[in-house]
């Protein structure tokens, strides 16, 4: 009987010890994905971004073992509070971020996406620069004046960004875009 009791006690102690060990390991694990992760910022506006810019940012991220931070810049009209919800624009942003994340996942690059609001795209970018840390910025220069970041914005970015800025020249390849359908959240990679 004593033998059985001792075996029982040993079993309980063993299980208890194992449980406590597992629990302490679980609690010791940080909730985040790590403190010193390098980040590459990829700001964009609207419903499309050149696939070359996405691929360049992903190549860099892979080479440097960094994560990609695609950031959708939303310009909130003056009649609305800056902190208000923007569901219509968020629909576009979500679909774009989903499309970029799909591409990143295929190349094994972790993604930490953002949607940043501002009174203008530049203002949104400034707010992003203030609140986030990153090591590089990849930004495509538009061939013709579109609705996105202007040449002036890029000059401003070069002066202000506390990181290396990689501005991609316009190229014929830019016709290939990562885009979302006009109808909204259904995403596709357009050639």
């Amino acid at each position: 009987v004593i033998e059985h009791v001792l075996v029982g006690v040993a079993l309980v102690l063993g299980l208890g010890g194992g449980y406590l060990l597992a629990r302490s390991r679980r609690h010791a694990k940080p909730a985040g994905d790590g403190e010193d992760v390098h980040r590459i910022l990829l700001p964009f506006t609207g419903t499309e971004i050149s696939r070359r810019a996405v691929d360049a940012a992903l190549r860099l991220a892979r080479a440097e073992n960094a994560s990609l931070m695609p950031a959708y810049l939303a310009a909130v009209p003056m009649r609305l509070p800056l902190g208000c919800s923007i569901p219509n624009e968020a629909g576009q942003a979500m679909a774009m971020l989903e499309a970029i994340e799909q591409r990143a996942a295929a190349q094994g690059v972790p993604v930490d996406a953002r949607i940043e609001r501002g009174r203008s795209y530049r203002h949104a970018l400034a707010r992003l620069l203030e609140s986030e840390k990153f090591d590089r910025v990849v930004v495509p220069a538009e061939a013709s004046g579109g609705e996105g970041l202007s040449g002036d914005d890029l000059v401003w970015l070069l002066e202000r960004a506390p990181a290396e800025v990689l501005i991609l020249r316009p190229a014929p390849d830019d016709a290939r875009r990562v885009a979302v359908g006009a109808a909204g959240p259904v995403s596709h990679l357009a050639a």
């Binding site: 299980l15 194992g18 449980y19 060990l21 597992a22 679980r26 609690h27 940080p30 909730a31 985040g32 994905d33 790590g34 403190e35 994560s67 939303a74 009649r79 609305l80 509070p81 902190g83 208000c84 919800s85 923007i86 569901p87 219509n88 968020a90 629909g91 942003a93 979500m94 971020l97 989903e98 994340e101 799909q102 996942a105 295929a106 972790p110 993604v111 930490d112 996406a113 953002r114 949607i115 940043e116 609001r117 609140s131 986030e132 959240p185």
Partner: protein, 375 residues
Amino acid sequence: VTRGRYKIFLGMAAGVGKTYRMLQEGQAELGEGRDVAIGYLEPHDRRETTDQAWGLEVVPRRQVAYRDVTVEEMDLPELLRRSPELALIDELAHSNPPGLEHPKRYQDIADAIGAGIDVYSTLNVQHLESLNDQVAELTGVRVRETVPDSVLGTADEVVLIDLTPEALVERLRAGKVYPGGTIDAALNNFFRIENLAALREVSLRQVAESVESKRLTLQRVEPLGTRQERVSAEVPKAVGERLLALVRPQPSSQRLVRRAWRSAQRLGTGLDLLWVKPPGQSLEGEVERQVTALRQLASVLGAKFLIEEHDDLVAAVARLVRERGITYIMVGESERPRGLARLREPLPQRLMRATPPGVDVRIVARRSAAKEEGS
């Protein structure tokens, strides 16, 4: 004094017939022999409305001097002195000029109800505080006079005055809403079909949510009978869905939020994000950054981000599900359990057991895992 009953006629825009319907019901009550008086009426020079008010006693307005002009306002002291059984008070969202008893008319109405007077009033949906931003984004027009959503909650009845956008535009064209000179401007700005359709949707949803929240307040959970009996007893009562996504301060949670938000959009319902924070975990470094990112994302999407400090995730979720009438929980795929954790029942099953019957649990796969399965 017994509190008076409060009925609000809610509409998507001016001209749908809120005031008309209020007067119509006032006339019906008068016909039933009740003591009815108009506390305040804004007929907007609409003949149908003026005709409908015929025969109803009107509590005289008072003259108030404001910025070198004299304006006419509802006379609250006179209304309280007259004390009809039922008062009809138009334009609930109206702001009073300084110097009166209250800055807002809904506060005047609260006094009247407190004095035992039944009140019928009218309100356009864009005046509700929580919808103000949303409506401004949808229509490009922002209203300054807002009322807290809780006002709608205090009403005993909310009646939606519904009209199709096409019918409202037709009324506008026929000069039944605004005088002739302003019709074209109205049609080109606020009264566009797409604006009205969006406002109509917002109004319908608002009333559905109001009905749902009243139902949840009244409903008592009776934990009797088999699970199947409880499911069949409770599910048919559900009016709307409400989604809850369980997040953690990690970049991978953003995908879960995107999925949850898309589902919420399809269902046309609200979304709550919940992080059950282990007690003692400090909000600093990467955790703080990710929490800020999630809070920001929730604000952009119009979702509610909640942080509950609790050492039992399932208990915290179950409590919130009951409190907020959640019908749908979305969780991310858990990491493969190791050691003794393998013996533990998986989270979705525990959630299913702890939450009321009829609450669905959906697992959102990790991107990499989905790829492995697909390949």
